[in-house]
Symmetry: C2
Subunit: 282 residues, 2 copies
């Protein structure tokens, strides 16, 4: 396995792979790799000839006061995990390689990126879109694997790839969960034992939302209220948002119909967690 | 010569060229090809193995009230000119191919794109940056040739390529001029004979600015005033801006030093023309 630290070396290595007729699978991550990331790698290995994992905690997508400084990092562990998972190239650039000077160029996806996480975290998706465009530009033609755990991000990235004509097929992969429903996240490592015990409340809230729809509720506000109530009953949790929206574009119709996405964001102690599931309002 | 109408076909054709070891030269244009464009093609042919010319009048870079509808178009003539110039691929997409739906994703280069043309034409460079990012993404690794005639655009595109890590080397090429100094431009076709006779006033203004610097003037405002005065003396011309700025980043120091760019924009009758030249304040 090759560890790459520069964009030029990354681009050259993948040009070479493609010139040999190999399809490239890309798994962009912020490191602290867990079984959720490894499920993306496994899917990429199954569908592509060569897999590159990128590990970069992108400062652009953290707002002031967010957890950039404390975001979990484990470069040695990530390299080892990638090796064991059969990854071919790990791209692990220093910040100065990605942003050698002031970042004048930014990429924005309007509409899709404005609500939910975009409303809670000003500038977040512009940071995501900019770094993903940069990775797509350097990597070139590939299939790129993103987790549904960050569902809004998945839609933003898919739209970005299409709008800017990147020869990249964006593949969404199902969220990996603990036995009690908690979605795997690098941030889970920061939960105290009590917080960890409280954290599955996000999943329970979404299940309550799904049950309400299953029982015939179609008013998006009512479904959101059901979810908010579940989170509100957990003393260690503070709700950021609970929403029931159209799964294709995250718009919030008053009356749900067709594919619906239920999304929740909450702070458990000092750690902010997000989650989502899909369902159908027949 | 191959005429290509879809982004996918473009990307595939150039992947194939590169897989055969050929270096790709890209000449992005808005068509109505003239000797200025053909000089870009010639340079690309000299430095690359295969040359692609793109012809697309990009609606995103025209503001409301600008000349999108009347911008000169000559697709048959462009194809013939490209063929005669030894171009290998012409990319001539319909608008619906480039923008099949609402354009949610936009690319912005701050700072560089804010003054001069950016100040006169709101949204112009965002439109340019977005379509150029789209072309770079589809084309992939290449050398891309842009005329110095649109000097600010050249700097914006170069910065965009670097910031977003496109494997694209942006090459600036000297402006081609008529015998009387008028820079070649597709828009020249719209000048009446009287306007055409008046149009070299832009070049004369810049030469006066250069002479002032040569004679020891270092105050950027004074140099700009000298240029404005020349344009002002031409009854058919209405000045938009005249500026003497740092050639590397278009900032306007009060006192000029080193590489300087002199830029002028003016309306000749109803046609807006821009031009620029370089000089040195030793």
């Amino acid at each position: 396995m090759q560890v790459i630290e520069t964009l030029e070396e990354l681009a050259r290595a993948l040009d070479k792979e493609r010139a040999s007729g190999r399809q490239v699978g890309l798994v962009p991550t912020m490191g602290a790799l867990h079984a959720g990331h490894l499920a993306l790698v496994e899917r990429a290995r199954a569908e592509c000839d060569v897999v590159v994992v990128t590990v970069f905690v992108n400062p652009l997508q953290f707002g002031p006061g967010e957890d950039l400084a404390t975001y979990p990092r484990d470069e040695a562990g990530d390299i080892e995990a990638a090796r064991r998972a059969g990854v071919d190239h790990v791209f692990l650039p220093p910040v100065e390689e990605m942003y050698p000077g002031p970042v004048l160029t930014s990429v924005r996806v309007s509409g899709l990126a404005d609500g939910l996480e975009g409303a809670s975290r000003a500038g977040h998706f512009e940071g995501v879109a900019t770094v993903v465009a940069k990775l797509f530009a350097a990597v070139g033609r590939c299939r790129a694997y993103f987790g549904e755990k960050d569902y809004q991000q998945l839609l933003v990235v898919r739209r970005l790839a299409a709008d800017l004509s990147f020869p990249v097929e964006v593949v969404g992969c199902e969220t990996v969960r603990e036995g009690d429903g908690l979605a795997l996240s690098s941030r889970n490592a920061r939960l105290t034992p009590e917080e960890r015990a409280a954290a599955p409340v996000l999943y329970r809230a979404m299940q309550a939302g799904r049950s309400a729809i299953g029982a015939g509720e179609r008013r998006s506000r009512r479904v959101a209220a059901v979810m908010a109530e579940v989170v509100g009953a957990e003393p260690l949790a503070r709700l950021d948002y609970a929403a029931a929206v159209d799964a294709s574009d995250l718009t919030g119709p008053a009356v749900l119909a067709g594919d619906v996405r239920l999304l929740v964001a909450a702070r458990i102690g000092s750690t902010r967690l997000i989650d989502n599931i899909g369902t159908t309002a027949p």
